[in-house]
Amino acid sequence: MRDAAASAMAPLRLVAARRRWDLPGALMAVVIAIVTGLLIYGAADTSGFLTVSNLKAILTATSLVGIISVGMTAIMISGNLFSLSVGQTAAVTATMFLYALRVDLTVAIAAGIALGLGIGAVQGGIVGFLGANTIIITIGAGLLQEGLATWMTNGNSVVPPSGSSSYTHLALPLFGVPFAIYVFFAVAIVAEFVLRKTRFGRQLYLMGENRSAAHAAGLPTALLTTGAFALAGACTGLAGVLIGAASANGSLLLEGTYTYDAIAATLVGGNAVGGGRGSVARTVVGALFIATISDLLLLRGYSTGIQILVKGIIVAVVVVLTNLRRGR
């Protein structure tokens, strides 16, 4: 029965293959050319864009969004779409970091990362072991994190203990370059290594490509999903530490637009939203792109609305284009 259907489909598939020459590829090239042109024009035309301090600001923003996006990449590659609560996790871990500074800087960093890892692992565990929907669980988890954070802090913002200044090193430049950038590159390299060279990483790719095949092959899919979310949570916690150190004022307001920026960065890099294909290197490019666009729009004085709109258009165009290119 299946064979009959397949042979009946064969000519159709040939037609489809012939028609799939490279219109989407050409379209993509055109879009990339237009966007590059706009960026160059914008960079040349916007006063204050091509200054050392602004480039540093872009790189810092890239790093903070990028570290979270690296974690998001693991989730996406594993075939679990994306998380809608990393912004809240970043805010919560930043607050935890600032609170734990009362003990010691090292403890505070560890606490921020560990809390993020735990928050991620719990969500991943529910998604993986109970087969729950990623989007629903992460929306619910976002609300729970907000509620718990408000409860524990009584709605007050958390500031570092008076007299403590050790944390400021995390927000200061090192050899003239913002510290977050070193962290970002270290995270990106480690994550790329983990995804490409370790058994865990390769199994994530396989699971994202074809979950039922992965399951049939005996891969621990539930555990892998938990691992992907835990990795994302740890990355977000690390970003939270840096965000907390930079703001020195921990509250839910730190959530900002990290959730959508991280999703946009991961998608813009060209990672397959359905999973199985993608890389951290792509995400690094995506994060740089999103941070540059945000900075450019901000410098040119565009309103919040335009900034959100532009990010939305970028997400929509990228989702459509990457899908066209993939073909069916």
Binding site: I136, L143, G147, V319
Partner: protein, 339 residues
Amino acid sequence: MKLAGPLRAAIRRVSAPYAILILMVAVLAVLPAVSHYSVTATNVYDVLQNFASLGLVALALGTTMIAGEFDLSVTSMYLLGAMVAVLTGAPSPVAGVLLALAVALGVGLIQGGVIAGLRLNSMPVTLGGYLILLGTTYILGHNQTVTYANYSVGLRLDQPILSIFSIRSFVSIGIFAVAALVMAYTRVGRDIHAIGGDRRASRIAGVRVARVVIGVFVASALMTALAGALLGYSLSTASPTIAVNQLTFAATAALLGGVSLAGGRGSPLGIAAGVLTLSIIQELLGILGAASYVQSLVTGGVLVAVASVQGLPAALARMRSLTAWRRPAAPPSSTAADA
């Protein structure tokens, strides 16, 4: 005797949302008797007003879920509907609503068209849609809260009728009734269930899947925009930043109402029960004077719990299949040869 098990399970599955609702109504009714808190007609009115504000959003999201899709853009469609109506509806409130619906029609056609035409996953597409509509709402309102000069419209819409209803809640109830009839008795309703249950099978069976998907997204946008527009009149304001928790509420209500995330299961009546249940829970928290974060904790907790429980049977089945080789061999079947 053989049927009793599955039948009982089916009844339990169908009636669970109503059982929870009845329980919540009972709690609301018994509360004054066992404590010093009083429950009045105003509380019932509040619950129905919440039903009026968020019920249609839950119905919109729930309908896309029944069709096996997910419309993440409902939150910003809601805000955009309110913004369009408030900005343009001062001379004629009806015209404002119609304009909001016209915008929604366009949004639904584009989102549904892209998703159905390119067979894309609706989550990333509607995420892009969410951001685009939110940005548009900000731009239309010049990043500010916009006020609606025609206060009388809102008062009229919210004026209590029979002390617990209002025009706004009647509108929601009416649309729920129509949706229930459409889903239960028309071909469209069966098609929506069918494409949510098994898209390939329904395509082969002759369901025009693309049309149904587009229709579902249009319906979602229209219902959300209508609820948003009426809320805008009711509050006499529209803003791009009012509570972003509509999506959480809508998803929780739909799941509580027995809509399956896997698609193919659920009904407007169930969704209505879910909305009322969640509204009563919120009202109870209000009566008890709970802090606002408790609302977040309860809603988030219910959402995670319901979503987890829903995946449980499938997860258990998977685990069973993993350990199947340990059990005595089943009689030889053709499926084993296929694999």
